[in-house]
Structures are given as structure tokens and as C-alpha cells.
């Protein structure tokens, strides 16, 4: 069955360093992969989309990579700040689908001052 794995343990990073989160998927060939941010008590908020033919995508301090051979996406936050502390969800999307069936459980990121 299709499976999405994100590190279930919280990731603690010192302020100013680069945080790297991992999303691995199996039995799945997504055409796109999205990353969302979720703060406690709130709904997820879209951050970035990367397509299968894109190796890397950047938005301000955020960078996402997509390796279809390794079946993995990496999400980087450079120059991290305490305000970046949140849970980050990855969501691979297949082609021709109008609904998002599978989501990663998310990785909690804690940026320490």
C-alpha cells in the first residue's frame, strides 16, 4: 500500500542554523509534492509545491528538493528562526486526482534561541 513517512520525532535546531526535514514515500509515484505548515490548534497552510520534473524549488528561506529515484523530498529552512517552529506536513499528489488521499504525519520542528 502507499505510504508516506516523515520523521515522527521532533527536530530541535539552534536558531540561525539550517533545518532539514525528510519525506519518504513508497508504492507511489507522485507527480507533485506539497509542503504545508501547521501551527498548534490551526489548520495546515500551504508553503511550496514541487513538480516531479523539478529537482529543486526555492521560496525565500525555504528550499524543497524532489528525488523521484530515491522517492524522497527534503525540506530546508535556512537561517532558522524561533517563529519557524511548527509541524511541517508533506503531501504527495498523483496525476489526475482531485483529492489528496495521502498525507505524511508531519515533523515537529523546534527552533531554539
Amino acid at each position: 500500500s502507499q505510504k508516506i513517512e516523515q520523521n515522527s520525532e521532533a527536530l530541535n535546531i539552534q536558531e540561525g542554523k539550517t533545518a532539514t526535514l525528510t519525506c519518504n514515500y513508497t508504492n507511489y509515484s507522485p507527480a507533485y509534492l506539497q509542503w504545508y505548515r501547521q501551527d498548534p490548534g490551526r489548520g495546515p497552510v500551504f508553503l511550496l509545491l514541487i513538480r516531479e520534473n523539478e529537482k529543486e524549488k526555492r521560496k525565500e528561506r525555504l528550499k524543497v528538493t524532489f528525488d523521484t529515484t530515491l522517492k524522497q523530498s527534503l525540506f530546508h529552512i535556512t537561517a532558522s528562526q524561533p517563529a519557524d517552529s511548527a509541524t511541517y506536513l508533506c503531501a504527495p499528489i498523483g496525476t489526475g486526482s482531485n483529492y489528496q488521499l495521502i498525507w505524511g504525519a508531519g515533523t515537529k520542528l523546534i527552533i531554539k534561541p
Binding site: Q34, G43, I93, N98, Y99
Partner: protein
């Protein structure tokens, strides 16, 4: 922020009682989704709608029904609530669906506790 509201925001109910959660949007988006989120699990799709009166099942639809009589409203009903349905429920909307990688906009969530 996308105009999505959910009501109620919190609810405590007893096993066996019917419960209806409401999602209301002001964005005129075609697609609407109901998810549940539990610790250690990713968001799981319950039902979704691709237009007025057009709905389909998601991964965890057993025990849930939905209705969409207007573009702006998507109702989720638990016919007879069970303790396993204790969860946080999120509504999401999307103008073009997820095809093409279109993003979803999420509501604030409803925390439901079934005793």
C-alpha cells in the same frame, strides 16, 4: 486567509448520538474536503465534494455521511458517534482540486470528543 469557517469549534457528545459539523466557505471554490487528524497519523480524507450534490468517499468514510446543497456549505454527519471518532476534523477547499498540484486551504478545525 481564505474564508473558511467551521462550526462548532469544539464539541463533546455521547456515544450513539448524531453529530453534524459544518464547513462554510466564501471563496466560491468548487472542491471541498473533510479530513480527520489523529496523533501519529497524517490527515485522512473522509469525504470530498466536487460540486453541489456531488460527493465521493475518501479513505475513512465508514460511519460518516456528507451533504452539499450549496456551493458554500459542506456538512459532515456522524450518524451515531463512537469513541473512535474522537478527533480533530478539518475542512479544506480548493478551486481546481488537487490535480496539477493546486493547493488546499484549510479551516480552523473542530475538536470532537465522543464520551
Amino acid at each position: 486567509d481564505a474564508g473558511i469557517t467551521q462550526s462548532p469549534r469544539h464539541k463533546v457528545t455521547e456515544t450513539g448520538t448524531p453529530v453534524t459539523l459544518r464547513c462554510h466557505q466564501t471563496e466560491n471554490h468548487r472542491y471541498m474536503y473533510w479530513y480527520r487528524q489523529d496523533p501519529g497519523h497524517g490527515l485522512r480524507l473522509i469525504h470530498y465534494s466536487y460540486g453541489v450534490k456531488d460527493t465521493d468517499k475518501g479513505e475513512v468514510s465508514d460511519g460518516y455521511s456528507v451533504s452539499r446543497s450549496k456551493t458554500e456549505d459542506f456538512l459532515l454527519t456522524l450518524e451515531s458517534a463512537t469513541s473512535s471518532q474522537t478527533s480533530v476534523y478539518f475542512c479544506a477547499i480548493s478551486d481546481l482540486g488537487t490535480s496539477g498540484g493546486n493547493e488546499q486551504f484549510f479551516g480552523p478545525g473542530t475538536r470532537l470528543t465522543v464520551l
